[in-house]
Structures are given as C-alpha cells and as structure tokens.
C-alpha cells in the first residue's frame, strides 16, 4: 500500500496542502485501489501503474472562471489531476454546476449552448461549473491553467481538443435532422484519421467497423440510418453518446450524467461498454448524482464539488456516505 499512498499524497495536486481542504490530509487515500477488481486490469498491475505514475492526462491548476456576461465567478480555484488509467467521479449538489466544468473542455467561442446544465450559475453566489473545463462560451477562464497531455487547452478550438483525445458526452444531446448517425460517425472518424495521416474510410468499410459496436451496445442496427438523435428518448441519446465514444475513441472521456434517463438494463449495457473501453492508457471523468453508476463503473477517485471548488476527494466510500446521509454528511467537518 505504501507506494500508492506515497505517490498520491506527495506528488498529486489533489492533495495539495491548501487550507481549503484540510479534510484531504485526514482522509485515507483510496487504499483499495489495487485490491479492487475492476475486471479489466490486474490489481497488481494497477498498483504498479500508479507507482510508475501514468502520466497525467488532465491537469487543472487553480482554475478560476466566471460567466462572461455577468462577471459572476463560478470556479474558484479548482485543482484536479487525472492520470492515465484512472476513473474519476465528481458529485455535487444540483446547481453546483458540475457539468459546466466539462463545458470548458470543449467550447471556445461565445455561443449559446443548450447542453448547459441549467440554472446553476444564476442561483448561487459562487457556483462553479465543470463545463468551464470544456471551453463553454458562456464562461471565460480568469486564472489558472488547464493542461491536457501537456498542452494548454484554453487556446485550442473545440475540434482540436476533441482530436487531441478529449471526449465529452453531453447531458442533453440535441438532434440533428438531416444527418444520419452513420454519416455523423463516419465524418468524426475520418476527421481523426485525417489528423493522424490515415486514409479516410469508405462507407462500406466503416459499416463493418461500426456494426459490431452497435451490437455490443444492444442497439438496433437500423438506427444508424436514422437522423442523429431524431426521435430518441433521453436514454437512447445517452446510449448514442456512448456508441460515439466507442467508435471514435478517446483518451479522456467526460461523461456528463450518463446515468440520467437510463433504465436499469440500459445502464448496465452502458456501463459495460464504458468498462470495456477502459485501458491503462485512457481515463474517465464521470459526473453523476447517484451511487448506482458508481457501483457499475468503479471510480478510483471521487470528488465533491461545491461553490466552485473541489471540497473533498476520496474513494467510492464517499459516494456511499453521500448516498446514505446526503451531502451534508460530508460537509466540511
């Protein structure tokens, strides 16, 4: 246990000695990371990986951000590091704007986005949104850095960020009439192939690539001919997002409330798909309210966000605690 502990507590900014998180030091680092079987990698290997330290995929240091229009601050110094092979979960109250942080990852220009998680920033004084990280146009970064694989994300266009390996699944995916799912996936895959210098795939070859993945997610193959998300229920849209993730591939997947709207079986399928995609090289950052997703996709770290900061980090036992006692049970005690 010692090596992971040491690695985690000394070098990770997660446990930086800032006064805002006294709890962190007291809290035992996730001691069961290496023991828990995730069904995808050996515990020993995981320990070894942690020790050799998967290079940080995402490093957020002291990120502060505010709403562009009103100037209201929504992120007040977020520090987060996600390494390769780790699964992180962020939980928080409704309206704490977890989703917005992910928006910052992707969005750059000033446009109105329907996938904003909603009333978050206007209800609370210091709300923060995870979507700030994605680059949402509503928000601008006022301080701090976001590094993805060592490159500064703030200057990158959303498509560049995506091509770099960042995948964000939307909380409320919109429908695009006129574009079929198949065409959309083909375009996305070819964009990536173009970037890495590979020849573009033709529709027929691509079909043979896509159909096994569609079957694995237990989706009807005919849906590929339908327009993107047209006529899909919320749960089906989420499944579509996961299909896109599995077809396109990503180094860091940001899953924004992927469990909302899915029934138990669908949730299992989705979780299996996500687990199947995980390798020691890529990571997942999930945003969720509920324990059930975390039961299926076991996180290595769970963060609690409130008022623009990560106030607590721990393992999935925190999630259990919240599930039983509510957010107040883990309040700064």
């Amino acid at each position: 246990m010692a090596p992971p502990l040491a690695a985690v507590s000394s070098s990770s900014p997660l446990f930086s000695p800032s006064s805002s998180r006294p709890l962190v030091r007291r809290h035992a680092p996730p001691s069961y990371v290496s023991m828990r079987t995730r069904g995808r990698s050996q515990p020993a290997a995981a320990a070894a990986a942690a020790e050799s330290s998967g290079s940080p995929l995402l490093e957020v240091r002291g990120l502060t951000a505010s709403v562009k229009e009103t100037g209201q601050q929504i992120l007040a110094g977020v520090d987060l590091t996600i390494r390769e092979g780790e699964i992180h979960a962020i939980m928080g109250k409704n309206g704490s704007g977890k989703s917005t942080l992910t928006k910052f990852y992707l969005c750059k220009t000033n446009r109105d986005h329907a996938h904003c998680s909603g009333t978050c920033m206007f209800n609370q004084v210091f709300v923060f949104d995870l979507q700030v990280l994605v680059g949402h146009p509503h928000y601008k970064v006022t301080g701090g850095t976001i590094l993805f694989k060592g490159e500064d994300l703030v200057d990158m266009e959303p498509e560049e960020r995506s091509l770099a390996g960042l995948f964000m699944s939307f909380q409320a995916p919109i429908e695009i009439p006129g574009v079929s799912n198949f065409d959309f996936l083909l375009m996305a895959v070819n964009a990536r192939r173009e970037k890495s210098g590979l020849p573009a795939l033709g529709p027929l070859e691509f079909y043979s690539v896509v159909s096994p993945k569609v079957d694995a997610l237990k989706m009807d193959p005919k849906f590929l001919d339908r327009n993107v998300n047209e006529g899909f229920s919320g749960g089906e849209r989420k499944r579509n997002e996961i299909l896109q993730l599995s077809v396109i591939g990503a180094d860091l997947a940001l899953l924004d409330e992927i469990d909302s709207g899915l029934d138990v079986d669908a949730l299992e399928d989705v979780a299996n798909a996500v687990n199947g995609l995980l390798t020691p090289q890529n990571s997942v950052l999930m945003i969720t309210h509920y324990q059930r997703l975390l039961d299926l996709i076991k996180p290595s770290y769970v963060h609690i966000m409130e008022n623009g900061k990560i106030i607590k980090t721990g393992d999935s036992s925190i999630a259990t605690q919240i599930n039983e006692g509510g957010f107040k049970s883990i309040a700064l005690v």
Binding site: L106, C107, R111, D112, H113, A114, H115, E157, P158, E159, S162, L163, M168, F170, P173, I174, I176, P177, G178, V179, D183, F184, M187, A188, A191, R192, K195, N227, V228, Q244, I248
Partner: protein, 571 residues
C-alpha cells in the same frame, strides 16, 4: 346564327366589340381576336386590318365599363367572316390560315396613346354580365403567338384551348400590386425579351435514361414517348385511356384556380403525354422518366415552350413519375419553360412524383402541377429546384374523397444573384380524415429571393384532418431575401393542423458545436450541415440514379456559392 345559344351569341358579340373597338395596330391582334370567335373566313381579315391600321387606340382602363359599348362607326362593318362560322371544332381545326401566314413574330411597338372612345349605348344584360374587365396587350400578344404556332392539335384538346383562350382575353398581366398571387414574385424577367416559339424540335441527341419508360420533350415538343403505359395524346388508341384523357382535359377547362400561365400552356401545347395506368397495376418501382430539355435559339428572344403531361392512375394503381427539366443547349441559355402537369389519382391509387428542376440560370420556368386525389389515395411529391432565374411553381391539390395521404417536400436553392424561386402551393381538403405533411426547405445564398406561400384549406366537411406544414429557410447572405407565408384556412372544427416556419441566418450553433465536439472542424461542419439540410429533402426521392445526380449537383452548387461568398468577402 341558328343553333347558337344566347350566351355564345353574347360572347361573340363581346369579342367582336373588343376586336373592333380597340383595334391594335398589329393585324395579328385582330386575327387573334377573330379566330377566338371562331370565324374562319380569311376574307374577313383584310378589311379588318385595313380598319385597324387606320386607327389606334389605347386599351381601356379597368374602371371603364367594357361590355355595353357602342360600336364605333368603323367597327360597325362587321367582319363578314362571321358567316364562315361553323361548329367550334371545325373552326379550331383550321385556325385561320391567314394567321399562319401572318409572318414573323417580332415585337411590335406599343400603340401610341389616343383618345379612348367611351362606350355609350347599352346592350343586352347578358352581354354586360359576361363582359370582362380588361384585356392586356402583352397577354394577347403572347396568346396570339402561341395560338399561331399550334398548327395542328388533337381535338381532345379543344375544349381546354378554347376555355383558356377565352379567359386570356380578360386576364391582365399580373403585377405585384394587382395580384395577390404575385405579391412577392417579380416576373418582369418574362418581359425582358420578345417571345419566340419553337418551330421544330432541334436535332439534339436525346438524353440517356436509365429507366425503360421514358419520355423526352425538347423545347416543349414531344420527341419520344416509350413505355408500357405512356403515350402521346394523338397516338392514343380509342379505349379507356383515351376516354379518361378526354374527360380529364375537358375538366381542366373548368379549372377555377388557374392563372395566365396555365392558360398560355393550354393554348400553346401541341401535344400531351398521357401516362395512364389501368386499374390495379402497380408500377411504382419502374418510374416513368419524363425529361424536358430546352435550348435557346436566338440571343434576341426567349424561346417559350409549353409541354404538358397528364397522369391518370386508375383505382388501386401505383405509378411513379420522375420529371426532370434541364437545359440542353449551351450554358446560360435564355428561354421560358411553361410546363403543366396534371395528375388524377383515383380511389386507392398511389402516385410518387419526383420533380427535379435544374434549368439554365438565365431561364424562366413557370410550372403548374394540378393534382386530384380521390378516396384513400396517396400522393408523394418531392421537388428539388436549383436552376432558373425565375422559377415559379404552382402546386394545386384537390381532395375528392376522404382518407387521402399527401406528402409534399420541396427544396429550393438560390445560389445565383437575383435568382427567384417561388412555390405557391394550395391544398384543398373537403373530405374527412385526410393526412398531409408538407416540408419546404430553402437555402438562399447570394442575392437570391425565395418565396413560399403554402395554403391549406380545411373546409367544413374535412373533419379529423391531420395536416402539418413546416418551412425552414436558411438565409446565408445579407442580401438574400426570403418571403414566407404559411397559411392555413380552417373551417372544420375537429382537426389537427400544425404549421411552423423557421427562418434563420445561420446554422444552428448547437448542431455546429455537436460536430465540433466530435472533432470535425467548423468549415467541414458548416459544409456538412448545409449539405445535410438539403439532402434531407433530396434523399426522399426514391430512385437512386435521380437521387444521386441531384445530390451531386446540389453539393456542387453549394460549393460554388460558398466560393462566391468567400471571394465577395475577400474583395
């Protein structure tokens, strides 16, 4: 004359008055008017010409009373040709050889103004009732030319021709102020050149067709018609098809919602292609491809073509037709295409109609599509219009029985400057439980103008109708103009009708972002979204060769218009 009804007498009298009262300086004017009264005697004309040459007059204004008018002294000399009057059909079949000999079709100078002779004495009330308001110079001129150009036509067309000719006498040239139907459409392009009419089909190789049944019209003249259920009107053997065609054409004579372009076609059509599918025959998978090619012969005139097709689908039959209009001569040909398509769908039948218009960018294209749907019939219509400088489509659908299904999809793309695309559609529902969906999409780039007037009339007995209409327009440049007038006139009280119109200057930013979030660059995403916006409609054409060709052409036009906008921005 014995055997003539009171009404006919009155009409003839009225026409005579017209002819004499405002004799135009062109002899052709009179010959036109006279022939419309079906006076065949050539001997009448010299005197009239003589008459007319000596006096010119201005056409009366609309407010003046036209009917009861005194005969000016000269006009009292009635054309002796009246004696030559025989039955209508006889007269029609020999339309004044003098007219044919009348010579060139060049434009005459407009008559100089002269004092207008006010009518004085009254004539019989019947004449007064039947009196039209005004007769338009230009309309008559064109009508005359058309009438002259048709040297022989099937007698089945006669009722239609005469009815249209009659109404042309009193139809004014529509202007934006006088005619609601042309409120947004500027049809002045049609007046920019004199009209010339094709004398014979040009010797161009017929375009290849991937379908076994195909028809080829060249400049409005029927060149070839081959297929199991396809025939030209003149070649129809006596039988069911011929009877139906005759009945249909006679009924078209009474079409109440027509306008002058419909009449022009009726007068100028030389032959009609009839697609008649007998009862129970289902050939929807083998479409009849009707190709209309156009050329322009002279630079100084506009070649006007009036092709006409008639589709009759008997009970429980299924047929598909693909109409394609394109220029066959050199690029940028200037011509006026004025086609009319009439479709009669009997009970339980289904017609799939795909219409692709990619005329030359200097051409004018005014089209009528008149559809009648009987009980439980289906009509699926897809239109893709990208060509022509002035493109006007009048789509008229009349429901004749309950439980019909109507699906209309149109795509208009104005990619050139000053291009005008217009769809005026009218769906009249008189019977219960009809289902209809209309989707209109248009992309206005450059300085084009796109007009949509979608009218759905749900009348009193059309209860439980389910009608939906949606129009989506993209205005991609600051100079583009879009006029959209969705209108539903609902009298029934148990219906489900929706209509929506969305005009946006930009693509939906959320959609664009969705593409970006998956790694697709903004430029590629914009192009893709524009392409898919149009492809949404184009893909509804069920036949692959047509579909693919239309998609490819659409893509090309989008790319070229994007290039144009980029250049404009850079300069």
């Amino acid at each position: 004359l014995p055997g003539q009804s009171e009404r006919e007498k009155g009409e003839r009298k009225r026409i005579r008055l017209h002819a004499a009262d405002w004799a135009r300086p062109t002899c052709k004017r009179l010959s036109w008017a006279c022939s419309q009264s079906w006076w065949a005697g050539p001997s009448s004309f010299p005197s009239l010409f003589h008459l007319s040459a000596s006096r010119v007059s201005r056409p009366p204004t609309a407010t003046s009373t036209r009917g009861p008018s005194s005969l000016p002294p000269q006009a009292a000399r009635q054309p002796p040709g009246r004696r030559g009057e025989a039955s209508r059909t006889d007269a029609m079949s020999s339309p004044s050889p003098l007219c044919a000999a009348s010579g060139s079709t060049a434009l005459r100078a407009p008559p100089p103004l002269l004092r207008f002779r006010r009518p004085a004495a009254a004539v019989s009330a019947s004449v007064a009732r039947a009196a039209p308001a005004v007769s338009d110079d230009l309309v008559l001129r064109i009508a005359e030319q058309l009438e002259d150009s048709v040297t022989s036509s099937s007698p089945l067309l006669d009722p239609l021709r005469s009815a249209s000719a009659l109404s042309l006498l009193s139809t004014p040239w529509p202007t934006r102020r006088s005619s609601e139907a042309f409120r947004f459409t500027d049809i002045s392009y049609l007046r920019s050149f004199p009209i010339s009419l094709p004398s014979r089909a040009p010797d161009l190789a017929p375009p290849a067709s991937p379908f076994p049944s195909h028809v080829h019209f060249s400049d409005g003249l029927l060149v070839s018609a081959s297929g199991a259920h396809v025939s030209s009107l003149a070649d129809l053997p006596p039988g069911r098809a011929r009877d139906r065609a005759a009945a249909a054409l006679a009924a078209s004579a009474e079409f109440a919602h027509k306008d002058l372009f419909y009449d022009f076609n009726a007068v100028g059509a030389r032959d009609v292609v009839v697609v008649h599918v007998p009862e129970g025959v289902k050939v929807a998978d083998d479409p009849v491809q009707i190709m209309f090619t156009y050329t322009n012969c002279g630079a100084e005139s506009m070649l006007m073509s009036n092709p006409r097709i008639l589709v009759v689908a008997e009970k429980e039959a299924e047929v598909a037709i693909v109409e394609e209009h394109f220029g066959a001569g050199e690029e940028g040909g200037c011509y006026w295409a004025n086609p009319v398509a009439e479709i009669i769908i009997d009970a339980g039948a289904r017609v799939v109609h795909s219409y692709v218009q990619r005329q030359s960018f200097a051409a004018a294209h005014t089209k009528w599509t008149v559809v009648q749907q009987d009980t439980s019939s289906k009509y699926e219509f897809v239109e893709v219009s990208t060509g022509a400088k002035l493109n006007r489509h009048n789509l008229h659908i009349q429901q004749l029985g309950p439980e019909t299904e109507t699906e209309l999809s149109t795509l208009h793309l104005t990619s050139q400057n000053k291009q005008i695309h217009d769809l005026h559609s009218k769906l009249i529902l008189d019977h219960p439980r009809g289902f209809s969906r209309q989707l209109h999409k248009c992309i206005a780039c450059g300085a084009g103008n796109s007009i949509f007037d979608g009218n759905i009339k749900v009348n009193r007995y059309a209860q439980q109708t389910d009608a939906g209409q949606e129009t989506k327009c993209l205005v991609l440049s600051p100079k583009a103009l879009v006029n959209v007038k969705p209108n539903l006139q609902i009298i029934a009280d148990d219906v489900k009708c929706t209509h929506g119109a969305a005009i946006s200057g930009d693509l939906d930013p959320n959609e664009l972002f969705y593409f970006q979030a998956r790694g697709i660059k903004t430029d590629t995403a914009t192009d893709a979204l524009l392409y898919f916006f149009g492809a949404h409609v184009i893909k509804r054409i069920p036949f692959k060769p047509v579909n693919e060709k239309a998609l490819a052409q659409f893509k090309e036009l989008l790319a070229s218009s994007r290039q144009m906008t980029n250049e404009a921005l850079l300069s």
